[in-house]
Symmetry: C2
Subunit: 161 residues, 2 copies
DNA sequence: CAACTTTACATCGTATGCGAACTATTCGTT
DNA sequence: AACGAATAGTTCGCATACGATGTAAAGTTG
């Protein structure tokens, strides 16, 4: 959609811009990762594990910003691919500990190099990016605190009672 | 993930921030729309149709920023819900023309009111939002032009040949 | 007019995201 | 020791996103 269109308030436009930017990034990563089986969420997880060391699924959920119910199947696929290992914590069997494997480290190194190479050619303005990150962080914090009223089916249909 | 973590270059951080902001917005809309069956992509489509009048699927794809192969099933669901109508163009039977129904207009009005109400409570800084939109637009344009090299399976596995 | 190319849309297969509900384990209270 | 609450993770069902492929219709060329 051209930016001539007005989706309503400024927030709606902001949302739509974030929607398009997110998918532009998704496509960029999809192109870089090609047919390797790697995806952006998997890449994020590998990075988090590389920096933090082994984590429980809940900890990983928190650091990677991915829901538990998204992580469970995702981590199972990654484990069967061989980039990480899942193990029940013997001290607390509710927990599963996720550890990067050697193959995972190798894959991450290669992925990081490919991504960095692609980003180097983008030519983004570092000052704009830094400011944008800060502003987006503000917006995200406020959105997560919001408690908007729910639309009902009756209201959607224009029925008043 | 806390922003202490460094995903690598500034671009990677930017991507992760966009990823989280997009999902924060998605959740916000999901909360507002509740069990009505409405979703953010459907909301965008209704808005585009409301402002542009009837469009072909390709035109809608372009204005809503949604791929044709995502739109086809989406529009079928929306048509069976009753908010829009699909009709083959008699002049060019390759094309399907999408038209908002009266029910669609009513639903969109209600949705816009609910969304605006939720946004009104957010308290975002208008100047930050405007700048952010501009910067994100720049980034999106560059990402869409990028032609990054693809990672191969061999490179992922650390094999040199 | 036939053959080929292009365009528009649809389907397939697989990916993720998330609300809801479920199962298993641990912790706290009585 | 028994029971309920809380925690951790899993599964279900449905949503979207998109590369690849397929079908049908229109346009172009010789």
């Amino acid at each position: 959609m051209s930016d001539d269109h007005d989706l309503g308030p400024l927030e709606a436009h902001y949302c739509f811009t974030a929607y398009k930017l997110n998918r532009a990034f998704a496509r960029f990563y999809q192109t870089v990762f090609g047919d390797t089986g790697l995806t952006y969420p998997k890449y994020v997880i590998l990075n988090v594990l590389s920096e933090s060391g082994p984590l429980s699924i809940s900890q990983l959920s928190e650091r990677a910003g991915v829901e538990n119910n998204t992580l469970s199947p995702l981590l199972k696929r990654m484990a069967s691919f061989g980039v990480l290992a899942r193990e029940r914590d013997p001290d607390d069997e509710r927990r599963v500990v996720i550890t990067l494997t050697e193959m995972g480290r190798t894959a991450l190194d290669a992925a990081r190099t490919a991504v960095a190479s692609g980003f180097a050619e983008l030519g983004l303005d570092p000052e704009e990016v830094k400011r944008s990150i800060t502003y987006m962080g503000h917006a995200q914090a406020k959105l997560e605190k919001a408690k908007p009223a729910k639309l009902t089916m009756a209201a959607l249909m224009g029925k008043t009672d």
